[in-house]
């Protein structure tokens, strides 16, 4: 009897809890985006991670990319500008009647404060306005591009130390922050304040932040662009690491956008009339299996070529769902890049040729070769699949490849020296989505670049590669630039510096009532929320 009473009470309470609840769903003017990566830093000048895009609705630069597929610059906080004849002096005319979220008016001085802040504290976005030069040149690394000068409250002049054709594109990625927290906190230039607050000129400002997973933005009524037409009132970024959870929310209508979709679900999502898949215009990164060209035996071009011929790109692409999720690529630069070398050959898969080359190199049937470890970034499915494909194909010619999952930070650490770096290593060629490849080239192949594996310098043309990259970065003549980039790509391919494994693009899934979304090639991921609305 007692047990019966107890169980009845439990059931009754359960029902009350469920029935008594008034379901609250998404507001019509509220967009909920499910992400898989946490926003780590709120300071937009200190965040160049992918999650920096969460802050894009809140901050703007002097210029910006047009909301369209191709990367094209248009005015933003600068209403207009002039460039000197020698392309080193940029004079920007600041847009009038623009307010920061705290009510401070935008002027030339506010812009200068932003530049000075980023450079003096060596914040991450200082990379966009710093000269990328040979670090052996004393004082060159981290130096700003010349001077930033306030001509008058409505005019700012930036004088570059040299020509930089991509300067405006870099400026589009450099956020202008309110000077008020900076001047009110002179000791740290507002660093502590910006870690928890948002204060820009963008259409949205901070509503709340339930760290680490939920960031809520609300519209800034004083936005200079105005609010006529259809717009969203609120945008929420919610981080959920499990992809299937985000998918369940999307299908149930509990979120509007799921930023990363499961590959297995994409076929079903395509058929769902309530869902639209949106592929990024460019891959985030090109997954490349780089060779250590200084270490035996991959110092031998014949060995590199033999291993390259073992990679079955078609099999890897198929396993990853085929285009547009996964595509092959032919060299260090993405095919969507304007400086892509169209003459590059498609990488060959030929096991017989691989065997011949091994014979030629003095390793018949792979005898005498060590077992190669192939570190790949844990959680990156594309690298996992590609490494397994390489392993199984190499085994057919007598080469042993052992894929090893590793943390990204560990891989970076190993790559600091060719002596500690494995013969084969997965590298993500980042940022593959950049409209111009200069930053990618600097990261990947320039002496002192992030990966610092010095592959190029091990080729017969090694002595010239850094100079070629530097020249391409600053060359004002577009034909010469294109020729330089073509040549660099050709050198990388003909010297078998890497296996061009997979270009992987994970689509976002949107509810069909979300309108106004445009794929922008300038970013891997960006939802131009100011231009979006829900029906």
């Amino acid at each position: 009897m007692k047990a019966l009473r107890l169980s009845s009470m439990v059931v009754a309470v359960s029902l009350l809890v469920w029935i008594g609840f008034a379901a609250v769903g998404l507001e019509k003017n509220e967009l909920l985006i499910v992400e898989t990566t946490y926003l780590t830093r709120m300071d937009p000048q200190d965040n160049v991670q992918m999650t920096g895009y969460y802050l894009l609705p809140c901050y703007e630069g002097l210029v910006r990319f047009k909301v369209q597929e191709d990367a094209e610059i248009e005015p933003c906080l600068a209403a207009s500008w002039e460039i000197s004849a020698d392309s080193t002096v940029y004079t920007f005319h600041i847009r009038q009647n623009v307010l920061f979220h705290d009510g401070t008016a935008l002027d030339a001085n506010a812009v200068k404060v932003s530049f000075d802040r980023a450079v003096s504290k060596q914040l991450a976005t200082s990379a966009y306005i710093s000269t990328v030069t040979n670090p052996e040149e004393e004082g060159a690394v981290g130096e700003p591009l010349g001077t930033v000068e306030v001509v008058d409250p409505a005019t700012i002049r930036i004088t570059l130390r040299g020509v930089l054709p991509t300067f405006l594109m870099k400026l589009a990625l450099f956020p202008i922050v309110s000077p008020k927290p900076v001047t009110e906190n002179p000791t740290d230039l507002g660093a502590e304040w910006y870690k928890n607050n948002i204060d820009g000129t963008g259409p949205y400002t901070l509503d709340y932040w339930k760290a680490p997973a939920e960031l809520g933005l609300k519209r800034f009524d004083g936005y200079w662009g105005g609010w006529e037409g259809k717009h969203l009132d609120k945008v929420v970024f919610l981080t959920i690491e499990q992809l299937q959870t985000g998918e369940q929310m999307l299908l149930a209508g509990d979120c509007d956008i799921n930023r990363s979709t499961l590959q297995d679900s994409q076929a079903a999502l395509r058929k769902n009339p309530n869902i639209v898949l949106a592929f990024p215009g460019s891959p985030y990164s090109l997954f490349t299996i780089a060779f250590n060209t200084k270490k035996w035996p991959t110092a031998d071009i014949l060995v590199r070529k033999a291993i390259s011929l073992c990679y079955n790109a078609a099999a890897a692409i198929s396993l990853l769902g085929g285009p547009p999720n996964a595509m092959g690529f032919n060299g260090p630069v993405a095919a969507t890049n304007q400086y892509y070398n169209k003459a590059l050959p498609v990488p060959e898969y030929n096991l017989d040729k691989a065997k011949e080359l091994l014979q030629q190199a003095g390793y018949p049937g792979g005898k005498g070769l060590p077992a190669f470890e192939l570190p790949w970034s844990q959680h990156v499915v594309a690298e996992d699949v590609a490494s397994q494909v390489l392993k199984s194909e190499c085994a057919k010619v007598g080469i042993t490849v052992n894929p090893v999952a590793m943390g990204f930070a560990t891989m970076l650490d190993m790559g600091k020296s060719w002596k500690t770096c494995d013969n084969l290593t997965f590298i993500s060629s980042y940022p593959a989505f950049d409209p111009v490849p200069d930053q990618l080239m600097q990261f990947m192949y320039h002496t002192g670049g992030v990966y610092n594996w010095n592959f190029f310098s091990s080729t017969p043309d090694g002595a010239n590669i850094d100079a070629m990259i530097d020249q391409a970065t600053t060359e004002p003549n577009d034909t010469i630039r294109a020729a330089l980039y073509n040549q660099l790509q050709e050198i990388a391919v003909s010297n078998y510096l890497a296996i061009w494994a997979i270009a992987n693009a994970v689509p976002a899934a949107l509810r069909a009532n979300v309108k106004g979304f445009v794929t922008m090639n300038a970013y891997y991921v960006h939802f131009p929320v100011y231009n979006m609305w829900k029906e």
Binding site: K195, N196, K210, P212, E214, L238, T245, A409, D413, K416
Partner: protein, 335 residues
């Protein structure tokens, strides 16, 4: 007894210090460049160096530890490499969510697990006993993350009965924050909508936590009670005419209490410190989720802070368990 307590508290200090040495060393010998990982691959070398210097990663390991210890003594748990914020400020925000989840799960564990174990012992060999043993083995074998995901799929996606993630449906529905524990805050502010919403959001994560631990509690309770039921004094009590319930509650259970309390204490510590997976699945903004994120990102200071808190939780719950022995069993003397 109070000297016992003082001594135990004093002994916590070297234990915690020892933990800091071990974890500090382990986190820093991992082959990785945390400054580069924190700055991102797009950052220049200058930015990375500046960050490395700011975080004192360019100093020798013993120097780094001394700096860390100095900060610790002042209550400074360092800064997160990724967010740049003080770890003490961040972690304080997450503790109430974990504490609330752990307390509710613990309460349910005691409410269901212990009585189930007692009934199973009292009805040895019968249906309830067999069923409870099956339940115990089954739930112990289930991976926590799998169970959580399946529950989400069934109760949210298929049946639309319960919410998927989080503590409340929207931020607007959260109660005004007083303690940070939404159930308590909702009661204090008499916000019944928030109370119901919070309860609904707790069902699945609590169920997942309880299901993963209940097997051990049920089996241990059953074994301990069975042991006591076979003792001579129980036979004597029955011979004197005492009913089954009285024999169980007044005699057998009290003698069986010590190991059960020990186990419950350990379970509570686990619920506090080991709920990271459940918090991750249900996006429950607690210390576990914070720690998990920090581990993946090699963010040293939050990892250290979490370890200290988890160690402290274990030490405190052990102390409480020991003190409870004396209450449960007067023959126990704490010396």
């Amino acid at each position: 007894m109070h000297w016992y307590v003082v001594r135990r508290i004093a002994l916590m200090v070297p234990t915690l210090l020892g933990m800091t040495v071990v974890v500090f060393t382990l986190t820093r010998v991992v082959p990785a460049d945390p400054a580069r990982a924190a700055a991102g691959i797009a950052a220049t070398e200058a930015t990375v160096e500046a960050l490395r210097h700011e975080l004192r990663l360019d100093r020798p390991l013993p120097v780094q530890y001394v700096w860390y210890l100095r900060g610790l003594l002042k209550g400074d748990l360092g800064r997160s490499m990724y967010s740049g914020r003080l770890v003490s400020q961040e972690i304080v925000k997450y503790i109430p969510a974990t504490t609330e989840l752990a307390l509710v799960a613990f309460f349910m564990l005691c409410l269901i697990g212990v009585p189930l174990g007692i009934f199973a012992a009292a009805r040895q060999g019968r249906v309830l006993d067999v069923a409870s043993r099956g339940l115990a083995i089954g739930t112990a074998a289930l991976p926590v993350f799998w169970l959580g995901l399946v529950l989400q799929f069934v109760f949210f996606y298929r049946l639309r009965l319960l919410p998927l993630i989080g503590r409340t449906t929207t931020v607007a529905l959260a109660p005004r924050e007083i303690t940070g524990m939404y159930l308590v805050d909702a009661l204090l502010t008499q916000n019944w909508t928030a109370l119901v919403d919070t309860l609904r959001h707790m069902i699945l994560p609590v169920f997942t936590l309880v299901a993963s631990r209940i097997g051990i509690v049920v089996r241990l309770t059953r074994v301990c009670v069975l042991d006591e039921l076979e003792q001579d004094y129980v036979r004597t009590a029955r011979a004197k005419g005492l009913g089954n319930s009285r024999v169980l509650a007044k005699h057998a259970l009290r003698n069986a209490a010590v190991p059960i309390i020990t186990e419950l204490g350990m379970q509570f510590s686990w619920l506090l410190a080991g709920s990271a997976v459940v918090e991750s699945i249900f996006v429950w903004p607690g210390v576990g989720l914070y720690a998990l994120r920090s581990i993946v990102m090699l963010d040293f200071n939050p990892i250290m802070a979490f370890t200290l808190i988890a160690t402290f939780a274990f030490l405190v719950s052990n102390l409480v368990v020991d003190l409870t022995y004396a209450l449960a069993n007067p023959r126990v003397r704490l010396e």
